[in-house]
Symmetry: C2
């Protein structure tokens, strides 16, 4: 094989994270020959530096907190978490950062894996530079799908690189517990990682520029999580920015805009994401390198009938599950267009990622858990919907009190007053993570309030919050 | 007040369990004067001898099992449950079998509580014999609602009364842990109580007449629960009947039809329920004392336009939450008929308990939890639906493995092939109790498969089983 080798495929997928894998799965299922290009590990961010390690780290923290809230059990839960055992379990769940299993899976579905850096070199053409410097040109008869995801975006502080700051990658893969950790940011990564490392023994200080945590959710989500983090011993400072950061003799020194000086062993910047599109040859097809890519509901890039952008890169919803959803739809749309099948592109059709606009779910695995789907009250109002929000204190639900002594939590349902369907639901409290899917079915299914009265929650589960929400809507 | 006192109400409710309370809540909300008659405790079976105490007893058992399955946490969970603390918590949750709080609640909604034994003494008339022997005649302008519930049905074994057997009442209220406990039966009460007492230190033997446990659910539910009970140390004997039972010097002696002799300290009969209608004057209105009462979908007794039977007594679904659902509908129907409002009695209307036929949910709080809604495959086929069932091994779901090391569980979705909606869903495994409500919304909401693809489960939750179920349906 020489530099000028060229291989023709029906579909070329750039990036073998869960999104790329799912695009390939669908195009292969339709019988289209498919190449997948990956410059790092097959399985992507989620498998090695995000969902999997973070949840493997968080589950023991949450389970311990849950156990400590159960009378008759709390007495037998002693001492702190076994941090080395937790870290070892995390290593197991990331397959020790090896991708053999996932590469085998790609092989199993009949997709060709090309390891190396892939760049567009013109329409329908991707050139892969292998680890050994060799080049291959892959051509795509039907579609190229950009699934390269996102990376942590560091703020432009002078000398930040010399500090060797943690991003989500280091925070999820650290081999040992730092004594003192500063977490900059207040979003999902920041709150989850503050939760983990505080529970594993770090002294955590959170520096949050905004007024509160989890700013994209209903305000009470961030309030309850902040309160719990503080109770767990973390120092949560909102309305605080980093003025400067240096590393002196191994110690990180942060100065805040309030003039406070904080010393730490590590500092995590969880301050946003940037698209991984800066070095993938976008300029060769008239697109801006480093930009998020605009797509229609079939995930096709505006103005390019052969180019798809799926997952984080299109900035519709930076969540693994939503990227996988888009991937199923993009894969099916590519296949439908390739074979001349009818495109089902109307809202909620098989080739339209309608849920991206209306029913994106998210679970933040903190203690308490914070889960939401669809629009917050503010978002719904901003979108021009005529809505009413009703709130319920979760401690009023029998199943919640039985789940955890002294249960603290809150729920909100945002109802569209035109057709009495739900625009959004937010649940915050221990054990609500699995409960949000009932709301996702209701929101995506556009199940009207009158029918939700017939969806009876089992007594006594926390799900009975549904009854309280419906009553609150009826009676107020 | 003398024996001949008579008080006129719009509505008279017989029985102040959760069902009677909810009927009264709805008729009072409509401005109808309402009397509630109770011979025992306001709050009923559920509050004192069923849901509340059983779940207060079960939660620590399940939480401990969950904690022991989490790497990094299991190491710090030592010793058995603190049984006295668990029992004390149960006592707290039953308000020490005092009903002041619930009586205050009735008062708060403006319903009149009449303590004593209520009997129909003709159409629209209930006579209450108070604890002191005085009598009051309550007349009902619009409706009498029978909400007297059910009691444990003991088998007709000779001498069974002298054995002083446990029923669900004693099993949920016992002040101490018996050394050896025989549980007769394999249904919900039997499996939950075997789970509790085995975990609190009893040596439990289950005698199950049928082939397996939880016979009304999909077969794998009973299989997984039986396996786990056996692993926990219980002796589960299926296909086994009690031939005789005696108590000798305090010790219970059971002889089975296999000729085995088992000694125990207590024996629980969880062998079914009978309606509490034997002494409520049904004969005075032409109905059979001791019978279950036939009702239409507005919960009105066949042939009596003023008589309603709500909750267990109508045998539609012997579950607190389903009785409460019926109560909301019956109360609203009574109010609509009383005020001349339009009755919304079509399927899924506000005055039709349609979910009783199509979407009854149940959670069995064993370890693993077993949860189901709607019809099992066998029930759906028997009902003449053209259906297909798809199964998923829950251990294949990333969120399940993260929830519990070595996760064991199973899910089944029964799809109606005519309109591609769900007829039923069953989930068995740790942590699935809150997950079933997503299926309840899907089944009651008649959300089609094509739309369920847009209800994205958060990654990595156990709810992702939905994706696996949809894939299994698509690909097989």
């Amino acid at each position: 094989m020489t530099e000028t080798d060229s291989i023709a495929y029906d579909v070329v997928v750039l990036g073998a994270g869960p999104v790329g894998e799912n695009v390939a799965d669908r195009t292969r299922a339709a019988g289209l020959s498919t190449a997948v290009v990956e410059s790092e590990l097959v399985g992507g961010e989620c498998s090695y530096w995000a969902c999997m390690p973070s949840k493997a780290l968080l589950r023991p923290v949450i389970a311990r907190a849950d156990a400590r809230r159960v009378p008759g059990l709390r007495q037998s839960v002693h001492g702190p978490l076994d941090a080395p055992a937790v870290l070892a379990h995390r290593d197991y769940y990331t397959s020790h950062w090896k991708d053999d299993g996932q590469a085998r899976w790609l092989d199993g579905i009949g997709a060709d894996l090309h390891r190396g850096h892939g760049r567009l070199t013109g329409p329908r053409t991707v050139t892969v530079t292998g680890p050994d410097g060799t080049r291959r040109v892959l051509t795509a008869r039907h579609a190229v799908a950009v699934c390269t995801g996102s990376r942590a975006a560091l703020p432009g502080l002078p000398g930040i690189d010399e500090v060797r700051p943690w991003t989500s990658r280091e925070a999820t893969s650290a081999p040992a517990v730092p004594g003192r950790l500063v977490v900059v940011g207040g979003g999902v990564v920041a709150t989850e990682m503050a939760t983990v490392w505080q529970a594993l023994g770090s002294k955590v200080t959170m520096l949050v520029r905004g007024k509160g945590l989890l700013a994209r959710m209903e305000p009470f989500a961030g309030e309850l999580v902040a309160e719990a983090l503080s109770e767990a011993g973390a120092d949560v400072r909102t309305g605080t920015s980093v003025e400067s950061v240096t590393r002196e003799n191994g110690t990180v020194v942060v100065v805040t805009d309030a003039g406070d000086r904080i010393e730490a062993d590590e500092i995590l910047f969880a301050t946003g994401r940037a698209p991984r599109t800066d070095d993938i040859g976008l300029e060769t097809v008239g697109l801006e390198p480093g930009s998020w890519l605009d797509v229609d509901d079939s995930l096709r890039v505006t103005g390019h009938d052969w180019l798809y952008a799926v997952g984080d890169v299109n900035q519709r919803a930076l969540l693994t599950h939503q990227g996988k959803y888009q991937a199923r739809i993009a894969g099916a749309a590519i296949a439908a267009r390739a074979t001349g099948e009818t495109l089902l592109a109307e809202a909620w059709g098989a080739h339209a990622a309608t849920a991206d606009h209306a029913a994106v779910p998210q679970v933040v695995f903190t203690d308490p858990e914070a889960a939401a789907v669809g629009l917050s009250l503010a978002e719904a109002e901003q979108a021009g919907h005529r809505v009413r929000a009703v709130d319920v204190d979760l401690s009023s639900v029998a199943g919640a009190g039985l789940y955890a002594d002294g249960y603290k939590g809150r729920a909100r349902m945002v109802v569209d007053l035109e057709d009495e369907i739900l625009r959004g639901v937010t649940l915050v409290g221990p054990g609500v993570g699995e409960l949000i899917h009932s709301a996702t079915v209701a929101v995506a299914g556009q199940v009207p309030i009158s029918r939700l009265w017939h969806a009876v929650p089992s007594y006594p589960t926390i799900s009975e919050v549904w009854l309280r929400l419906l009553e609150a809507y009826r009676d107020n």
